[in-house]
């Protein structure tokens, strides 16, 4: 079969794109764990989080778990992905959107006592945008705005095969 010069160039370009895509896909697969911005409490309980260095945990602030210490700056709360939860202690200023039942990402270190000591706490916003009245109406109608897991989190799966 004879290919015209143009068709030949097209084949080269197409081959290049395919090769490159495969290469990038493999690289991304290999680096998968390093691309994770935070670990979920379930992953931490499965020992997937680093033990000897700082990392981030992400999840929902458990309803009713926030306790402010007498010094006014230290806060204790638990972070949950509705399956596992981890107690967190943090001294510092919390972002405005930090709230019970809302998403949070905390950076810090796991203590020997199982308490995560955070050096930075960020609010994790979800993708729902609506006026306050609509949110109120949804709540009255019994619709959970957040859904089962918090926004942006991958579905919780027990990765037995991996």
């Amino acid at each position: 079969m004879m290919l015209t010069l143009r068709a030949k160039r097209f084949v080269w370009v197409a081959l290049g794109i395919v090769t490159l895509s495969v290469a990038v896909a493999l690289v991304l697969r290999a680096f998968n764990s390093n691309l994770v911005f935070f670990f979920t409490p379930t992953e931490v309980s499965q020992n997937k989080a680093p033990k000897d260095r700082t990392f981030r945990i992400g999840g929902l602030v458990t309803e009713g778990s926030v306790q402010r210490k007498p010094d006014g700056l230290t806060v204790a709360f638990t972070v949950t992905d509705t399956i596992q939860s981890i107690p967190v202690r943090y001294t510092g200023i919390l972002p405005d959107l930090f709230k019970e039942g809302k998403g949070v990402v905390a950076q810090g270190r796991m203590g020997g006592d199982g308490v995560f000591t955070a050096s930075e706490v960020l609010a994790k916003h979800d993708e729902n945008y609506m006026p306050p009245e609509a949110a109120e109406a949804l709540k009255r109608a019994g619709h959970p705005i957040e859904g089962k897991v918090f926004a942006g989190q991958k579905p919780v799966v027990t990765q037995a095969g991996k």
Binding site: F10, V24, V36, F37, A123, E127, N128, P132, E133, G152
Partner: protein, 244 residues
């Protein structure tokens, strides 16, 4: 075929000239309408209050930054395979606008991130890949300006854009594939939208405004590039702007 007629700079130049004012006027009208919807009609958000209104700039900019890069990648294929002169010129005309929108998305995102997340910047997958997109735009423009011979510059630029285009799906799906600080998509073709109707309307009108703006400025720019690159072409001597 008549469509290919416009792949020749001599016939594309006057066509672009006729289209620019239309796209420009549309961009202006849509931007006024979109900003009115976004800033005055749309209600405040139940969690963020007024801060969320940055999305009327932020989201259209981010979309535009990614989309322009994909259009450039398409032109890169045309430039490499068909070696049409106009494709390479369109790439050069689109790049500054794509770069501007990407920078705007990063900047507005940082301004929004501070009050919402509590930080201007975090190296999560979404933000890092968007920063890489900005570098790709900068790199492309630098490359085009660094190589004296335009033919060789076009080839190198097209290759860079093609290789970099793999980054666009990574940006788009990053919030799905990995745990990121950035929230998932509020608007998607497969999962419906998670926004109130007026908010969404404002955002989509602003997105259209950005499209029209991008068309207007890049067509304007490509006309200048055509004249710059082919000043001695016979047809150029006969156009009014040059004679004047």
């Amino acid at each position: 075929m008549s469509l290919f007629k416009y792949s020749a700079p001599s016939s594309f130049y006057p066509l672009a000239g006729k289209l620019v004012p239309w796209f420009g006027v549309l961009a202006f009208l849509l931007a006024v309408g979109g900003l009115y919807l976004g800033l005055f009609v749309a209600p405040e958000d139940y969690q963020q209050g007024e801060v969320y209104r940055i999305i009327f700039i932020h989201v259209p900019s981010a979309w535009m930054g990614m989309f322009i890069y994909l259009v450039m990648a398409m032109y890169a294929v045309l430039a490499l395979v068909y070696q049409t002169r106009l494709s390479a010129m369109m790439m050069e005309a689109l790049a500054p606008t794509g770069m501007m929108f990407t920078a705007l998305a990063l900047w507005t995102g940082a301004l929004w991130g501070k009050p919402t997340w509590g930080t201007y910047w975090a190296f999560d997958a979404r933000m890092t890949s968007t920063l890489i997109l900005l570098f790709l735009y900068v790199g492309y423009l630098a490359l085009m300006n660094a190589i004296e011979d335009k033919k060789r510059a076009d080839k190198a630029g097209a290759l860079l854009v093609l290789v970099g285009s793999i980054n666009v799906p990574i940006i788009y799906f990053s919030v799905k594939w990995w745990n990121t600080l950035h929230q998932g998509a509020s608007v998607s073709l497969t999962q419906g939208n998670k926004m109130a109707a007026t908010m969404l309307a404002g955002m989509l009108v602003m997105a259209l405004a950005c499209w029209m703006y991008s068309l207007a400025v890049s067509l304007c720019r490509v006309r200048a590039i055509i004249l710059e690159r082919e000043p001695h072409a016979a047809w150029v001597k006969h156009i009014r702007e040059v004679q004047a």
